[in-house]
């Protein structure tokens, strides 16, 4: 049987005792992976905070005016200037910020007057919920579309998938969101309007995880679950158009590459069913590359959902960071950026883990 293009790897022969040095190396390897992860997180964290902090301080927007307003007297302005510690050298400001963050204090948001951490706990799950559903839609529709398009290359199905891919790439999400609201909400009445949940349900479900679907299900509030799901589907479907287009296009491309490999021809010659050839052999190899693509798509949806959030009045982290940026609310910008950045790193690490699970070579 053909096992794709995986290379079989022989391990240490049974019965032979490992070399003492190898045993030491193996012991060190146990710690190498977590240390590597920790190192990545620390470097990402310091890098993100440093860059965002410096950009925030050198950009012309004035964080003091964001708080006191443009009509503030000089006395009021200066009082706030000193309170924010802006009179201190930039490096000292950054150090103070960093030491506070390490203690879990991201500072307060100007816009919301709340600790940034509280804001993130409120807004990030909303985006995560949206992006997760969008990614799932992208995976479950995009992969089959890409595979079928590759199998039927040059035929009508392929053309349709490519057009859908082009559509997902090129149509502005802003326009698509409004048109979808017009059709599915205003005209067909299939889905509710903008918002994460009907405002009348506000405050009924305790925010345990921050994910309304999970919280409402956990608390047995099924009416609210239904309402939240109905609110979720249209924005996530709109956000999914990009994911779907990207995943479908890349799947098609990867599949085309695999289908031209000799092992596929061999499999077919051996009389295996087309389903087995495509899904069991060719697609397994594609899956490795797709994990990376899906990871990147998921991460990009996390950071790039701001337009969808604006149109659908979705109180997510994208809108939060963007509004904070316009208001020179740098604590919020840095806090939000760090969380998204860590999310990005987390997704990449998850991709690595999945990659290792799927590809034996990566486990070496």
């Amino acid at each position: 049987m053909v096992e794709g293009n995986f290379t079989t790897v022989s391990g240490t022969s049974e019965g032979s005792s490992p070399h003492p040095l190898a045993a030491k190396l193996s012991f060190l390897k146990m710690f190498a992976a977590p240390a590597n992860i920790l190192f990545t997180i620390v470097v990402t964290f310091v890098g993100l905070t440093a860059i965002t902090f410096i950009i925030g301080r050198v950009m012309p927007a004035d964080p003091v005016l964001a708080i006191v307003g443009d009509r503030a007297s000089t006395e009021v302005y200066e009082a706030m200037y000193f309170k924010l510690g802006l009179d201190k050298p930039l490096l000292q400001q950054y150090w103070i910020y960093l030491t506070n963050v390490v203690q879990g204090d991201f500072g307060k948001s100007i816009m919301t007057s709340r600790p940034v951490l509280d804001d993130i706990i409120t807004y990030f799950p909303a985006t995560l919920e949206l992006a997760t559903v969008a990614t799932f839609i992208g995976i479950f529709l995009g992969i089959p579309m890409g595979v079928i398009a590759a199998v039927r290359q040059g035929r009508m199905t392929d053309h349709i998938v490519r057009v859908i891919g082009l559509f997902g790439y090129s149509v502005p999400i802003f326009w698509l969101g409004l048109v979808s609201l017009l059709i599915f909400y205003a005209k067909l009445d299939w889905v509710p309007g903008p918002g994460r949940i009907e405002v009348y349900y506000d405050g009924i479900v305790d925010p345990v995880t921050g994910f309304i679907l999970i919280d409402s299900a956990m608390q047995g509030e099924w009416e609210i679950f239904d309402n939240a799901l109905s609110h979720l589907i249209l924005p996530s479907a709109m956000l999914a158009t990009y994911a779907l287009a990207y995943i479908a296009r890349m799947t098609r491309s990867f599949m085309l590459d695999q289908l031209s490999q000799e092992y596929v021809i061999t499999a077919r010659v051996k009389g295996l069913s087309e389903f087995t050839v495509i899904w069991r052999h060719a697609f397994r190899n594609v899956l490795i590359q797709l994990i990376t693509i899906i990871g990147l798509t998921y991460a990009s949806l996390l950071e790039g959902s701001v337009l969808t959030e604006t149109i659908f009045a979705w109180p997510g982290i994208g809108q939060y960071i963007t509004k904070s940026l316009f208001n020179a609310d740098m604590n919020a910008v840095i806090g939000g950026t760090v969380v998204v950045g860590i999310g990005f790193v987390g997704i990449n690490m998850l991709s690595d883990v999945l990659y290792r699970m799927v590809d034996p070579r990566a486990r070496r």
Binding site: M59, P60, A61, D62, P63, L65, A66, I67, V68, G69, D70, R71, A72, S73, T74, E75, V76, A79, I110, M111, T112, S113, R114, T122, L141, M145, I148, M156, T157, I160, L181, L182, F184, Y185, A186, L188, D189, W190, V191, P192, G193, P194, G195, E198, V199, Y200, D202, D226, N227, L229, S230, I233, T310, A313, P315, Q319, Y320, K323, F326, A328
Partner: protein, 532 residues
């Protein structure tokens, strides 16, 4: 599998989701839901609120010492105070509280609450505190100048030459809100006078109390059944944060909101003919103006300054892209308010502008200037119209667009050349704008009178300063009004400002909504009068 099945799966998913919950149509009869961009709220503490939405919300939560009521927006009446007397020298105002007023908490309102509220504004020293510091109050003297000799009397002493009429008007500003001292002080942390707590909570006695505030999501207000003017018809008012205007339109058309507050002119036009939606046109006090930096070697020339007033196509803009949203207004105090000056002597007249430039020593223009303005509509469009007109008189210009947080620091640092900006009064008295546009007692850079646009533009005129101060201290209303008329006329002649337009707000309401009252100032929007 059929080729179209995959597409059908996608659509099917949307349909299936739509079936998960019945889509609620309309809003409950006793609840008012409005779609509004509420992302400008940064605090709900009356001592600090200086934003439009925040100002509107607290106006419906707190009774102020003095008020303009929905029933008559032009007459200043007692709010939490039932009556007042002014001493012969005009320096002392004695306020008598209405009897048996209760806060939402159930606490009785006493004179101590009112005195505490006024003192707290000064002690916290937030941006709007200047409204009271002009009374001559500061953190050291306010306790002796604002006193409560008994439970129903508050004595307010003015420690400056301010007219008592002006002081009473200032007491109708947001900082004049009476807060529940016991409740607020029970949440005091480290001597902050309840500041941190009150940012997101309420402690008032007005027609509504704050139930929920979630930044960038929703504000929910519950009615006060014991309100002194009767229980409001709407038991709950919900401000939903809908930042996108097009989404607001869809919501109002569907009836999922009762009011849409931020529709653009094209969206308003699209609602014409929809009998389920009516449009309320309400003149507002916000002005759009152009300021020429007088420290600029060319723009400081009086003739150049004057020429600028003739390069604006006021009517052309009002009849095209500003239609329905703005009207021409050319004086610093908006029309529709006491002491407004409604004459509009300037029209687009390029020949006159050319002649004035020549008189100023710039025949045929021949210089280049920068126009700074905001990125949001209609500022770029107005700037482009000005740019085109300038090019016709031989002046080259470059437009720089920026967000307010970038634009205002430059303006406050006097680094602009021509700036196109907006201004709304802080309270309903002409001194609010006169103090900003005309009064600049010290033009030195070190003076840093950054709150005054006159200082920002380096406009200094002893004559104008004198008139502004005379108007502010004049106790006789008729005399005061005359001074303001003269002052506005004079500012049109020699001021550095080309005041162009006054805003008119268009709000879409479902046809069953009645009683919506929206006054000129941002804090004169009344929810208690609304019925469905």
């Amino acid at each position: 599998m059929s080729k179209l099945k995959y597409l059908a799966m996608f659509v099917g998913l949307v349909i299936a989701a739509g079936q998960t919950a019945p889509v609620q149509a309309g809003t409950p009869g006793d609840t008012l839901v409005m779609a509004k961009n509420i992302d400008d709220i940064i605090t709900l503490d009356p001592a600090e609120v200086f934003e439009f939405t925040g100002g509107e919300v607290i106006a419906n939560i707190y009774d102020r010492v003095m008020m303009f009521e929905a029933e008559d927006l032009t007459t200043l009446v007692g709010g939490a105070a039932e009556s007042y007397t002014i001493s012969d020298d005009g320096k002392t105002i004695t306020l008598k509280l209405r009897p048996n007023q209760k806060f939402h908490s159930g606490n009785m309102m006493t004179a101590a609450d009112m005195a505490f509220s006024l003192q707290r504004v000064i002690k916290l020293n937030k941006t709007p505190s200047f409204i009271f510091t002009q009374f001559g109050w500061n953190a050291d003297n306010v306790d002796s100048l604002v006193t409560a000799p008994d439970d129903s009397t508050v004595v307010v002493k003015l420690n400056s030459d301010l007219s008592p009429a002006l002081a009473l008007n200032a007491l109708s500003a947001g900082v004049g809100a009476v807060i529940d001292m016991k409740l607020v002080m029970s949440h005091e942390i480290d001597g902050d006078l309840g500041y941190e707590w009150l940012k997101n909570h309420s402690a008032g006695s007005g027609p509504y109390s704050l139930k929920t505030y979630k930044a960038n999501e929703v504000v929910i207000l519950d009615y006060n059944p014991d309100y002194r003017k009767g229980a409001p018809a709407m038991k709950r008012v919900i401000l939903r944060h809908i930042p996108e205007a097009s989404a607001q339109r869809l919501l109002i058309e569907k009836g999922d909101v009762d009011m849409a507050r931020d529709l653009t002119p094209d969206l308003i036009k699209g609602l014409e003919g929809n009998k389920d939606v009516i449009i309320s046109d309400d003149p507002k006090a916000a002005l759009i103006y152009m300021a020429a930096n007088q420290a600029h070697p060319i723009l400081g020339n009086p003739k150049v300054n004057e020429a600028l007033r003739y390069i604006v196509d006021y009517e052309g803009m009002v009849n095209s892209f500003l239609a329905g949203q703005f009207k021409t207004h050319q004086a610093f105090w908006p029309s529709g308010l006491w002491a407004s000056y409604d004459k509009t002597p300037f029209t687009l007249d390029l020949d006159k502008a050319r002649a004035l430039l020549a008189e100023g020593g710039y025949p045929g223009g021949g210089f280049k200037i920068r126009i700074d303005t905001l990125t949001k509509s209609p500022y770029p469009e107005i700037a482009q119209a000005v740019q085109q007109a300038l090019s016709k008189i031989g002046v080259e210009s470059e437009i720089t667009l920026a967000e307010g947080k970038t634009l205002w620091p430059m303006y406050r640092a006097r680094k602009h050349e021509l700036i196109l900006a907006q201004w709304s009064p802080d309270y309903v008295d002409p001194h609010s704008n006169a103090d900003a546009f005309a009064h600049n007692p010290d033009n030195a850079l070190e003076a840093k009178l950054t709150g005054k646009v006159a200082w920002r533009t380096s406009f200094f005129s002893p004559e104008i300063n004198g008139m502004t101060e005379a108007a502010a201290s004049e106790a006789d209303l008729n005399k005061r009004e005359k001074i303001y008329m003269k002052l506005q006329k004079r500012m049109q002649e020699i001021g550095p400002f080309t005041i162009m337009f006054q805003k008119s707000e268009q709000t879409a309401l479902r046809s069953n909504v009645t009683g919506y009252v929206s006054g000129a100032n941002f804090d004169l929007v009344f929810y208690r009068t609304i019925k469905k």
